[in-house]
């Protein structure tokens, strides 16, 4: 299975729309799209996970790698559109406290 990934430039932000299941098989595909974006200083990257229904630990690892890269390259990373299952995963692992995760309704 493959991920649907497309990027859009919106108001100076790079939005990465991801669709599918992020697991051991598809994680590398996400890394190839996401990691280079975080290497640009000052870049603002938003990952839209509205169409992602499942992320496993390997998938989570990609976000951790991207966060570390963003921190060391002076870019920023924000996640949006997490469903309950995905949100739970970020919460259990404590990542919700070190990552910028947008709450759907409240943020608008």
């Amino acid at each position: 299975m493959n991920l649907d990934i497309r990027t859009e430039e919106l108001d100076g932000e790079t939005v990465l729309f991801v669709g599918g299941e992020i697991d051991a098989y598809t994680a590398s595909q996400l890394r190839e799209s996401l990691l280079p974006l975080t290497e640009k200083e000052g870049a603002v990257i938003v990952v839209d996970l509205t169409d992602v229904n499942y992320i496993d630990s390997t998938g989570l690892g990609i976000f951790i790698g991207a966060l570390k890269s963003a921190n060391s390259n002076g870019s920023s990373l924000r996640l949006t559109g997490l469903n309950d299952r995905v949100k739970r995963l970020f919460s259990i692992t404590g990542l919700d406290e070190v990552m910028d995760i947008e709450e759907e309704e409240e943020a608008q």
């Binding site: 630990s57 966060l67 990542l95």
Partner: protein, 337 residues
């Protein structure tokens, strides 16, 4: 090799001749048996065609030239199969080699895990840990300290299989190199986190739960590093609740602090620790719910802790058609009455 071919040739002529005379099922059965021998002797497809044309020339000396030539054509067609066949042989040998290497590694890995469950008057302990393939990314450990407290660790390394197993050995050595004196769960995770943070790739991480059971006061002290919540069974109220310790995964931030939680354990209560392979069991209908898991545990709760974990594993394995998607670990500590 050449002798084997000669021998096969004689046999082929014989069975083909018999078949052409009698034209019955016995003859065809002979052919089927022969095809197994062909494989055993590693005779390739183009050689089989050659066996056939040589036999035909013996039976029918006046074979039309066109028929004879057509076999040269067929041999050429079979060359591709022949090359694929030989490659297959070699890849199969290679696979066997890899498999035996992995078996050795898997045996080595087993020695990282406790070979027996500690015996305690106060606790009934059950453990099961099964890798999805040969090597596991799950780790568990028991430590009994001078005060007779029991330390229990459960950790899940990102991913599974060989890469996870390699990383797991680091956790094992990390645990071994911790200071001798008894560590509080939070301090232990802080120490371990520094080891992990220095030694893993940027997208690797480990989740872990560490708890310490003090049998004198029957308190369970625990801290978590992003690990799948466990369960606590309250015997008096016949009720399950989540056993969760919030904390960041190991390997992300060097200076992470871990909060310590505790729980009073009464007679008959039990603590369930698990890896996400348990809760991420996936059937055709979707993921199993935690309610399904608690229902199973309750169903077997009259059994010993070891029998409970064995039975729950069997049920979940069966639900998934005996194919594990992720490493599976389940630990139960029950306070004896």
């Amino acid at each position: 090799m050449a002798d084997a071919y000669r021998l096969m040739q004689e046999q082929y002529v014989k069975i083909l001749e018999t078949y052409l005379q009698e034209k019955n099922e016995t003859g065809l059965y002979q052919a089927q048996q022969f095809s197994k021998k062909v494989l055993e002797n590693q005779i390739s497809p183009e050689e089989v065609v050659s066996l056939h044309i040589e036999a035909l020339e013996q039976f029918y000396p006046n074979l039309p030239q066109g028929a004879r030539d057509s076999f040269d054509f067929l041999i050429e067609i079979m060359m591709g199969y022949g090359m694929a066949y030989r490659e297959h042989q070699i890849l199969r040998d290679k696979q066997k080699e890899l498999e035996s290497e992995i078996n050795v590694a898997a045996n080595m890995q087993q020695t990282f895990l406790p070979d027996e469950i500690p015996e305690m008057d106060e606790l009934d302990i059950g453990v099961i840990s099964v890798p999805a393939s040969k090597m596991s990314g799950d780790y568990y450990h028991f430590i009994k300290d001078d005060n007779d407290s029991l330390g229990v660790a459960i950790a899940d390394i990102i991913g599974k299989g060989v890469p996870a197993a390699l990383c797991m050995s680091m956790i094992k050595y990390g645990m071994d190199s911790l200071p001798e004196q008894r560590l509080q769960p939070g301090a232990l995770l802080e120490n371990l986190n520094r080891v992990v943070e220095q030694n893993v790739a940027s997208n690797m991480f480990i989740t872990m739960m560490y708890g310490s059971y003090d049998p004198r006061v029957h308190h369970f002290y625990y801290s978590g590093a992003g690990h799948e919540p466990g369960l606590f069974y309250n015997y008096a109220e016949d009720r399950f609740e989540d056993l969760y310790a919030k904390g960041l995964v190991l390997g992300l931030d060097r200076d992470t602090k871990f909060r310590e939680y505790h729980k009073k354990v009464e007679a008959g209560d039990f603590i369930v620790l698990l890896s996400d392979g348990v809760t991420e069991c996936r059937t055709d209908e979707g993921f199993i719910e935690r309610e399904e898991l608690t229902r199973m545990i309750r169903e077997y709760s009259h059994l010993s802790a070891q029998e409970i974990v064995n039975n729950v594993f069997y049920q979940l394995e069966r639900l998934q058609g005996f194919r594990l998607r992720d490493d599976f670990s389940l630990i139960i500590l029950r306070r004896k009455v």
